[in-house]
Every structure is written in C-alpha cells, then in structure tokens.
Amino acid sequence: MKKYSVFSLIKNALSHHQNWDVAWRDPEPKKEYEVIIIGGGGHGLATAYYLAKNFNIRNVAILEKGWIGGGNVGRNTTILRSNYMYNANNLFYEEGMKMWRNLSQELNYNVMYSPRNILNLAHSDAQMNAYSRRGNSMRLNGIDAQLLYREDIKKIIPFADFSSNCRFPIFGALRQPAGGTARHDAVAWGYARGADDLGVDIIQNCEVTGFDVNNGKIQGVQTSRGNIKTKKIGLCVAGSTSLLAEKLNMTLPIEAHVLQACVSEPIKPLLDQVVTFGAGHFYCSQSDKGEMVMGGDLDGYNSYAQRGNLPTIQHVLTEGVALFPNLSRLKILRTWGGIMDMSMDTSPIIDKTHIDGLYLNCGWCYGGFKATPVSGLTFAHTIAKDEVHELNAPFRLDRFHTGHLIDEKGIGTKTWIS
C-alpha cells in the first residue's frame, strides 16, 4: 500500500490524479479461509483489520451482500461519545474513544475525528440530578464530564430557545468534551484499505445463503458466489442478524427496527457542538458541508425496510424547532433510514455461541457507530483467542438467562420506545 501523505498528494496532483492506487482489491473468493467475517460494515471491516493487525490472522475474507459501507456505517449521524452510567458501557465505549483519538494516524486515512463536545441538555431539576449522577459515574471511570447550568449553555448555544414562554426550558446540560463526530464513510474506507493491505479479501456482492455445520462445528458457508470452507465465522450484520441466525436455527433477543435521520440544506457555520434535546428524543450536529444532521426516535414498529414514514420525521423536527427555533426556516435536503438490531436491554452482544466457530456481534441498537474501533478490537480478540476480551465480557449472550442485563435505559423489552 502506498502511504497517503502531502507528498503523494502533490505527486498525484502533478499527474492529474490519474495514477492513484486502488484503495482495496476486488478479489475472487478463495476455496477456504481461516476466518470469514460476514458483513462489510464498520464493525466487520474493523474486526478483519484487527484480526490481521493484532493477531496476525491474515487469511480472512469479508463477505458483503451489497457494497462495503452501504449499511448503517453510511447511514448514522456520526456521533462519538462514552457518556454512559454503567461501568460495563463506560469502560467499553471509553476504550473506543481512546482509539478514535489516533485512528487517522493508525489507518493513514483521515477519519476527521472532531472532539467538539456533546451536550445532553436537561429540562428539569430531576434531569439535572440524573445527569449529575451519570457524570459522577463517568468521572469515577476516568471519563471527563462536566455539569453545566443554564447561563453556561446560553454562552455556548445562544440561538437555542431561552425565552420565558419556552415549553421545556433549558436547566443545564451534561457535557463530555471528548464527544464529537467522525466522518463515517472514511471510517469504513479506512478500515477497508487497512485490512486489504494486510491481506484480507473484501468480497462484495456476495450474499451468504446458508451455513455448513457438522457436529456442532462450523465447516463453511454457502454464498451466492459458491461455497467457501472455514472453521470460524464472525457475524457482523446488524439489522440482518436474526435472518442469518434463523438459518442456524437460532432465535435471538433482538428485534429489527427502522431509524431515520435527515439533513437540512447546507448553511454557514452555526452549531459547533453535538446537542441532544432532553425533553424528547432529538440530536443535532452540523457537518463540515454545513448541513444540520438530525435524528431522533425509531419509527416504532418492526421493520427491515431501510425507509420510514413521515410522522416520525415530523415529530423529531418538531422537537428540533422547539429547541432551536431558527431551524424552522430550513429546508430538509434528504431523509433516510437504517435497520437497527435492537437488543432487549439496549446493550450489544459480542460473544461466542453454542456452535463451535460461530461468533456473534450484534444488538447495537442505534449506538453502533461510535463503537466501531473497540467492537472490532474485542470481536477480533474473541474470534482469535476463542474467549471474550475483558471489555466485552459483560456483553455476553447468556446474560438474558443469568439476569446480568445492562439495561442502561431502563425500558425493559419494549425496544421500540427507546
């Protein structure tokens, strides 16, 4: 792989950008691999990268039904944070935040990590108390968190509604300074380029249609491009997890739901933070192109459609306008949807399974993007060593039997109201 640098940029500019190397190959599938990762999204690509990089397992294929980065890694609102309350989540996501800090250098690919503060706004005394508790929990785990008050927020986002007749007045906020955004496509492409360089075969337009299992052991996969032998399979297919699990006669504590997001027309720099509205479910940041990137609630019914309905968009943007009245004059440029693998306690599952050689990475709900590096790291560890990493040890599948749930949101099994 030729390294990207200012010199390579100048050199290629002089030859009119006609001689850049391809970022990754387009290989034919081999007959056999040591490990097969199903799903060429962020988590699948990162897993393959760390398998090769950290564990020297390079005979790896990523099988992707469509094209890499076409699923949720290209559909999220790019937010990074580790502002959780439970230790398991705090430690896991904070390790991820540490990885984001030098991911561009690690991958020699600019993922545009932008630590710009995430502000979780509070709109009542009770919410301030809850955020104070959460912030203390974060600080006990070594994560910087600050409790801000109304006057502080006024200085940071003066265009929010601070009027006297505001329905949900801003009381304050919990701020994580390291929270921010990263360019989601670059994350997928950077990991793809890095993995390919270490020998991983990225095979696109290759749908897995079945599994070969013998005596409880994985023997291979059947795909739309032929059968491939392997002893180890890592499943990183987010919203499609239940569909592939069904081919293995497995039922999982997961429901698929559609989550929509939208962007406004581009405007000049307005918002230099990530802001969440605490009286409903609305979050917002501004992209480098100037679009306001906004999201909120699930549509609220089981779905595999990758598109939602307008009532949810209307509901989310109503909250947006309640928070930032000046958004009301913006046009929405586009909306889209992605399929969330909603787990029954809103926390992910990274684990081995009862089938020897089958590994599971799913249940990300709508928090998967920020976890891309640490998910790849711990899942690669789980596959390579056939045992969980200490960071994903709490995220095992059997917690739904033992009762050790990580119910961060406390909403029980009604995943669609989270």
Partner: protein, 92 residues
C-alpha cells in the same frame, strides 16, 4: 404515512396508534412448573421475521382498544387486522 384499519373504527392514520410488539409471544402457563429457559424465551427472545409479522397495536388516540395486525416488515404493507380474540395462528 401508514393507514391502519382499526377493527372497531376503520382506517385511520398511524398518528392515532401505538405499537405493542410481537403478538405471537405466549406467556407460559402459570399452573405448572415453568423452566427458566421458557421464561427467558417468553420475555426476551423474538422470531423477528422479515416478511409477515403478527403484532399488537393500540388505538391509543382513538377507541383505546388493542388489536392484532398482520403486517409485512419488509414492505410495511398491512395485510389485515383482527380483534384480539380472533385465533389466526402466527400469520406467516
């Protein structure tokens, strides 16, 4: 915008309804010894099909009745709706 046919009120916009989840989940019988696995399956595990799905809806801003809907999770097409007492199997 989904248009959902409430079995009691007729076709209304989705704004009037709240979702209630998979309608095929069966609570274990209370008058027998129930193994933990069965409880776990009832509480947490879902078939989560791509295609026809029998599910509960609540006409919460209307007549406030619960009912069942057979809906395609890949296309969002609502095939039919039923009263809770209608026994129609698992809809697949």
């Amino acid at each position: 915008m989904l248009e959902i046919k409430c079995p009691y009120c007729g076709k209304r916009s989705q704004n009037e309804f709240a979702y209630g989840g998979d309608a095929t989940v069966k609570r274990p019988e209370l008058n027998k010894e129930v193994p933990d696995e069965e409880w776990d399956t009832f509480v947490y595990y879902r078939k989560n099909p791509r295609g026809n799905h029998l599910e509960l809806w609540h006409h919460i801003s209307g007549c406030r009745q619960w009912f069942k809907a057979k809906r395609n999770t890949a296309t969002h097409e609502i095939i039919d709706t039923f009263e809770l007492s209608d026994d129609i199997g698992d809809a697949s």
